[in-house]
Symmetry: C2
Subunit: 317 residues, 2 copies
């Protein structure tokens, strides 16, 4: 398959297209975290994005690319997390029917959120096979277009707009750091850094317990996770063939962090910045703290991916 790398113009057009459907989230700093890291950190607060995560950007953009006929038939996705909520909300805004397949064991609060945005929820067993089968069945019955949460160029383009905004607001940033799970956020961030940064390099941050991107990046071919036993539930997914070529070309390195490092970083953000972020967001700060020497005295943009957590299941002890 040919490598398709989106162009600067496509990124700019994406930003214009999705602007009415998203929040331009703030960028926050913390003197304490600057002191601890020895760098100047600029946090792009996608936890304050609509539905609580950057996923709104990619979902809105993907639905906007559909034809009138496709919009009428609707969109379908399977998700236990943020992408389902993003598709539900974006579809609702655009008057498009949305079908979201969710595993039975997904938190009730997430099911309610998706229903609250007006989507039709189908529950299934908690396996990838069951999820894919249910989505395929709905697709066949309704003619809805299937949306993938990360391995899709429209989604990658939408995700890129978070780092584009960051670089517009903080043009002195020379390092970007984003968590990597499915790879859609990291690929978008790297494209933004490449086209709109000032000699800007992009780093991925990944849990050691779901290190497929790290191994793929260093081996040059997509690897699968051998474990997904990480607290960072948003990062348990696999790289895809749409985002991997972008990551190969435009990411400088991927830094893996332990579960303890993730919890430490998450606690720092909650305690010092007084904001709620999900474990996946803390992975990016954990990576920057792990490689302090590498980043000393640089201006670093960190994408805080989202803030949807189950408050009764926090990792703090």
């Amino acid at each position: 398959m040919d490598t398709v790398i989106p162009t600067e113009k496509e990124l700019q057009q994406t930003q214009r297209e999705i602007a009415p459907y998203i929040h331009r989230t703030p960028i926050w700093t913390s003197k304490t975290l600057n002191r601890i890291s020895g760098a100047s950190l600029f946090f792009k607060c996608e936890n304050f994005q609509r539905m609580g995560a950057f996923k709104m950007r990619g979902a809105a953009h993907a639905i906007l690319q559909l034809s009138e006929e496709q919009r009428e038939r609707g969109v379908v996705t399977h998700s236990s997390g943020n992408f389902g909520q993003a598709v539900a909300l974006a579809a609702n805004e655009l008057g498009v029917p949305a079908y979201v397949v969710m595993p039975k064991n997904a938190p009730q609060v997430k099911k309610e959120a998706v229903k609250g945005y007006g989507a039709s929820v189908t529950e299934c067993e908690a396996t990838l096979e069951a999820r894919e089968a249910a989505a395929a069945r709905i697709q066949k019955e309704t003619g809805a277009t299937s949306l993938h949460p990360s391995n899709s160029l429209p989604v990658i383009l939408g995700n890129a707009t978070a780092a584009m905004e960051l670089l517009e607001d903080q043009p002195g940033v020379t390092v970007l750091c984003a968590p990597v799970g499915g790879g859609g956020l990291l690929a978008g961030t790297a494209l933004a850094g490449h086209y709109f940064g000032n000699s800007c390099t992009t780093f991925g941050a990944e849990p050691e317990e779901a290190d497929d991107a790290y191994r793929s990046f260093h081996s040059g071919a997509i690897q699968v996770n051998t474990t997904t036993a990480t607290l960072a539930d948003g990062l348990r997914t696999h790289l895809g063939d749409q985002n991997f070529p972008i990551i190969q070309r435009h990411v400088s390195d991927i830094i893996c962090v332990s579960e303890a490092e993730i919890i430490f970083a998450m606690k720092l953000i909650w305690e010092r910045m007084k904001i709620v972020v999900e474990p996946s967001s803390a992975v990016a700060l954990a990576a920057v703290l792990k490689e302090k020497q590498r980043f000393r005295d640089t201006e670093i943009g960190i994408v805080l991916s989202g803030g949807n957590v189950t408050l009764s299941e926090l990792p703090f002890s």
Copy 2:
């Protein structure tokens, strides 16, 4: 004792004096919380204040009132919570020695924070008597000035500046709501509403499990708590003779809420606004939600008092 009510001019002067030492915190809104409450809520985010709580305002102002000689001898307070941190930080900024008496069982993270701000920490038994005795001893030995966290006009004046800023930014606000523990924040908020609001009324919010202000307000004489079994650890203290006359004159009513209502409101703020607030802050939202009919369609300013929580001891289940 004569009732002393601070003047409009004193509030304005306080605001000018403490400005260099505090953050002007943002005011946040939430469409979801507006929908749930049936009102327009404006949250004054003192959780983003320096050291994480509004207490910085009163502490800075109280220390600024001291003579050169008093400053040299330092300040002393006893606190298990935010006021100790506020005194430590404000004193540090002003080059004044600070002595903070803390109960042995105070969380380690709070002791570290006070020490981190350069204060001298003395540990004592976890009783009010032991705390007062230790503070008195230090006062005698060092000549330091004792600072009370709430029953003090300089502290009340400092606290008033949070609501002053809120009313400057949102002049349409006609109801202010602040939690009441010792009474210093509520008295200051009521003064701000009186002098700078547009026909603005002020309400106190108090846990049923520490309802001395409610009973004092309705009986006309200071009552003591019969229980302090509330999660809202910042509100377990007693009203004082400096703030009670101000509350009597300028507060419209005090609304009591249950522990379940506090947890519900706290969860709403964390989940929907993605910010970390302490239980005491949630008490004010809980009161507004409890009396929805009373506040329907009004613009309400809610003082979120702070965000210092022990993450390993959250009430969410």
